[in-house]
C-alpha cells in the first residue's frame, strides 16, 4: 500500500531510481573499502570526473529530449581539449576557451543541420562525425604536441577552467552546478524548454502547433556540442596535456549516464539531474574498482552490464508506476 502511494511520484520523476542506486552504492562503497574510497581526496577526484562526464551528459540529455541521439560528443570533447591547449599559451586562456566552445558549437551545428535538412537518422550522422573528428584529432596530435607546462599554468583563468581547486574540489564542479541550474530552469520554465520536450514527445504535434521543430533540434545539437567542447576544455585545464584519443568511449559513457538517469531514448522525458547522478554513479564505480585494486579492465565489462540493466530497470519502474 505504501509503495502504491509512490506511483504518482515515480511517474513524474523517473530519476528517483538512480538516486536510490547512488545512495546505496555510496553506502556500500564506504562500508566495504575501509576508508580507501570514502576519503576526501578520492571523493574530490570522483567529483572532478563526474563534472566533466556530467557536462557532456547534460548536452546528450538535451538531444535525447528532442528524440534524437548525439554520439559525436566524445570526439567533440577531444577537439575542445585540443583547441584550448593549442591556443591557451599562444593567445590567451579565456579566448582559447571561447574558441574551443565555438568549435564545439560548429560541430553541433554541422550535426544538427545535416540531420534536420536531410531528414537522416541522427545515429548515423553523429556516428559519421564521431569518426571524422576523431580522425582529425589523432592526425593533429601526430604532428604537434598539445600541452601546457605546469609552470605556465598560473593566473585566475587557468584556475577557473579546471586548473585549480575551490575548497579542495576542482573548479569544474562549480561550472557543472551553475550550468545544471541554468539548463534546468531553461528546460522547466521557458518556452524553449517546453518546445524542446514537445518535439521529443511528438514532433508532428509540436509542428502542428507552430513549433519550428528543426530549429529546436538544431539548438539542442549546438548546445550538446558546446557542452562537450567546454567539458573537454575543463579536462585539458586539469591535465595540461591531451592526445588524439582524449574522450574516446566517453560518448558511450555519456549515453549510459543519461539512460541511468531515467532519460527516455524515445524522447520527451529527460532528467538533467538524473543524468548527472548517472555520471556520478559511473565515475564512483570506476574509482571504487581502482582503489580496491581490481583490474581496470573490469570496468568496461561492468559498464556494459550496467547500461543494459539500467535501461531494463528504468523500463520496469515506468511500467510499474503506470499500473493501477
Amino acid at each position: 500500500m505504501a509503495l502504491a502511494a509512490l506511483k504518482p511520484l515515480v511517474r513524474r520523476h523517473a530519476e528517483i531510481g538512480i538516486f536510490l542506486i547512488a545512495a546505496l552504492l555510496v553506502l556500500w562503497f564506504s562500508a566495504s573499502s575501509d576508508g580507501r574510497w570514502a576519503n576526501f581526496y578520492n571523493l574530490a577526484s570522483v567529483l572532478q570526473v563526474t563534472a566533466t562526464l556530467g557536462l557532456m551528459s547534460l548536452g546528450v540529455a538535451l538531444v535525447i529530449g528532442t528524440g534524437e541521439i548525439d554520439i559525436s560528443v566524445g570526439s567533440t570533447f577531444g577537439m575542445g581539449a585540443l583547441v584550448y591547449l593549442w591556443l591557451a599559451l599562444r593567445v590567451d586562456p579565456a579566448l582559447a576557451m571561447l574558441a574551443a566552445v565555438a568549435v564545439g558549437a560548429a560541430i553541433g551545428a554541422f550535426n544538427g543541420l545535416l540531420i534536420t535538412r536531410t531528414g537522416t537518422p541522427s545515429l548515423i550522422i553523429t556516428l559519421g562525425s564521431l569518426m571524422i573528428f576523431r580522425g582529425i584529432a589523432i592526425a593533429l596530435t601526430e604532428g604537434f604536441s598539445f600541452s601546457i607546462p605546469y609552470g605556465d599554468r598560473s593566473g585566475a583563468t587557468y584556475w577557473a577552467l579546471g586548473g585549480g581547486d575551490l575548497l579542495g574540489i576542482n573548479t569544474a564542479l562549480v561550472w557543472l552546478v551553475v550550468i545544471l541550474v541554468v539548463l534546468t530552469v531553461t528546460l522547466k520554465m521557458t518556452p524553449f524548454g517546453n518546445r524542446l520536450l514537445a518535439v521529443g514527445g511528438s514532433a508532428s504535434s509540436a509542428h502542428s502547433r507552430g513549433v519550428r521543430v528543426d530549429r529546436i533540434k538544431l539548438a539542442a545539437f549546438v548546445l550538446s556540442g558546446v557542452l562537450a567542447a567546454f567539458s573537454g576544455t575543463l579536462e585539458a585545464g586539469k591535465l595540461g596535456f591531451a592526445d588524439g584519443s582524449m574522450g574516446r568511449l566517453m560518448e558511450l559513457q555519456a549515453i549510459a549516464s543519461c539512460v541511468l538517469g531515467g532519460c527516455l531514448l524515445a524522447g520527451g522525458r529527460i532528467s538533467l539531474i538524473g543524468a548527472l547522478v548517472g555520471a556520478f554513479v559511473l565515475s564512483s564505480i570506476q574509482s571504487y574498482l581502482v582503489v580496491m585494486g581490481v583490474k581496470p579492465q573490469w570496468f568496461m565489462l561492468l559498464l556494459g552490464i550496467i547500461v543494459v540493466a539500467a535501461a531494463y530497470g528504468d523500463r520496469r519502474l515506468r511500467n510499474w508506476s503506470v499500473t493501477r
Partner: protein, 318 residues
C-alpha cells in the same frame, strides 16, 4: 535500367564505379597492383561478413553496435581455446559463444522491450571487457601443429590461389541471399522491419525473427573473426575495435535504410569493399592512418544522405 535503379544496391554500385574511376585517375600505378588488390579484396571479404550481418539486423529495423567486440571475442576464444580443444573444437565453441551473445542481445531487445542501440552498446562493452579480463592483455599465438591443422587451412588457406575468406564469402553470401529473398523466413524478416504491427497481425512471430537475426549477425561477425585469425593467428585485446562502425558504414553505403524493411546484402558487401579500398588507397597515398577514420565518417554521411534521397525519389516513405 529502371529495375537496377530500384534495387537497394544501386547507390553502392555507383559508389564502387566512381571510386574505382577516381583511384585509377589519381593513382593508377599504386592501385592496380596485384598486392593492393589482393589485400583489399581479402579484407573486404572479412568486412563483408560483418556488413551482411549488420544489414540483416538493420532490415529488421534494429541496429547492432556490438559486432566489433563479438568479432574480437570470438577470435580470441578461437585462439585461446585451441590448445585445449583442438582447432575444430575451438571453432565450434567460439561460434557457440558468438551465437550466445546474439541470443542474449536479441532476448534483451524483444523481451525487455529495450532499444537495440542500448542493448548492443552494452554488448559492445561487455564483450570487450570479457576480452580484457580473459586475456589479461597478453598476446596468444598458434602452435605449429595448429597452423597445419586441416581446419585452419580450410579457414585461412588458399584454393587455386584464391584466399579462403573470399570463397567463404561467396558461399555464405549466396546462402544468405537465398534465405532472404527465397524463403518464408526472409519474407518475414523483411516484413518485421517494414511494418512490425502488420507482420504480427499476419501471425509472424516478430520476436523470434528478431532474435534469430541478432544471432545470425553475431555468428557472422564471429566467423569473420575466426577467418582473420586462421589466416594470421595472433590476438590482441583491441582486435575488432571500431569495426562496428565500419560494418554499419558498409551496410548503409550498401543501401540499407535505417527505417527497416529495405536493404541489400550484395550492396553491404560492396559497401565493405568501398570502405576497405579507402583504407588502402589512403595508406598508398601516404596519408596518416588516422585519416581513414575521418574518411569513413565522411563516406558514411554522404552515403546515408544519398541513399535517403534516392529512396525518396523512388517514392518510398523514409
Amino acid at each position: 535500367m529502371n529495375t537496377l535503379a530500384r534495387s537497394q544496391s544501386f547507390g553502392a554500385l555507383i559508389g564502387v564505379a566512381v571510386m574505382l574511376a577516381v583511384f585509377t585517375a589519381i593513382d593508377f600505378s599504386g592501385w592496380w597492383t596485384r598486392a593492393t588488390i589482393a589485400n583489399v579484396i581479402h579484407f573486404a571479404a572479412i568486412l563483408g561478413f560483418l556488413a551482411m550481418g549488420q544489414a540483416l539486423v538493420i532490415m529488421t529495423r534494429e541496429i547492432d553496435l556490438s559486432v566489433g567486440s563479438v568479432y574480437g571475442l570470438t577470435g580470441v576464444a578461437f585462439i585461446t581455446l585451441t590448445p585445449d580443444l583442438g582447432v575444430t573444437g575451438a571453432v565450434i565453441v567460439a561460434l557457440l559463444i558468438a551465437l550466445a551473445v546474439g541470443f542474449l542481445q536479441g532476448i534483451a531487445v524483444v523481451k525487455g522491450q529495450l532499444p537495440s542501440m542500448i542493448v548492443t552498446l552494452g554488448g559492445l562493452f561487455t564483450a570487450r571487457g570479457i576480452i580484457y579480463v580473459w586475456t589479461g592483455g597478453s598476446v596468444h599465438n598458434f602452435s605449429e601443429d595448429a597452423r597445419a591443422d586441416w581446419m585452419t587451412r580450410l579457414l585461412g588457406g588458399e584454393l587455386f590461389g584464391i584466399e579462403a575468406a573470399i570463397l567463404w564469402l561467396l558461399v555464405i553470401g549466396v546462402v544468405l541471399n537465398l534465405m532472404l529473398w527465397a524463403t518464408p523466413f526472409g519474407n518475414r524478416l523483411l516484413a518485421t522491419g517494414g511494418s512490425e504491427d502488420s507482420a504480427e497481425s499476419r501471425g509472424v512471430l516478430t520476436d523470434r525473427v528478431k532474435i534469430i537475426t541478432f544471432m545470425l549477425c553475431s555468428v557472422l561477425a564471429g566467423f569473420a573473426g575466426i577467418l582473420t585469425l586462421a589466416d594470421r593467428p595472433q590476438t590482441h585485446v583491441t582486435l575488432g575495435e571500431l569495426l562496428e562502425l565500419e560494418a554499419i558504414a558498409a551496410a548503409v553505403i550498401g543501401g540499407c535504410l535505417l527505417t527497416g524493411g529495405r536493404g541489400s546484402l550484395i550492396g553491404a558487401v560492396l559497401g565493405g569493399f568501398i570502405v576497405t579500398s579507402f583504407r588502402y588507397e589512403l595508406i598508398a597515398l601516404g596519408a596518416p592512418s588516422s585519416w581513414f577514420i575521418t574518411f569513413v565518417g565522411i563516406v558514411l554521411i554522404v552515403a546515408v544522405i544519398f541513399n535517403q534521397k534516392l529512396a525518396r525519389r523512388l517514392g518510398h516513405s523514409v
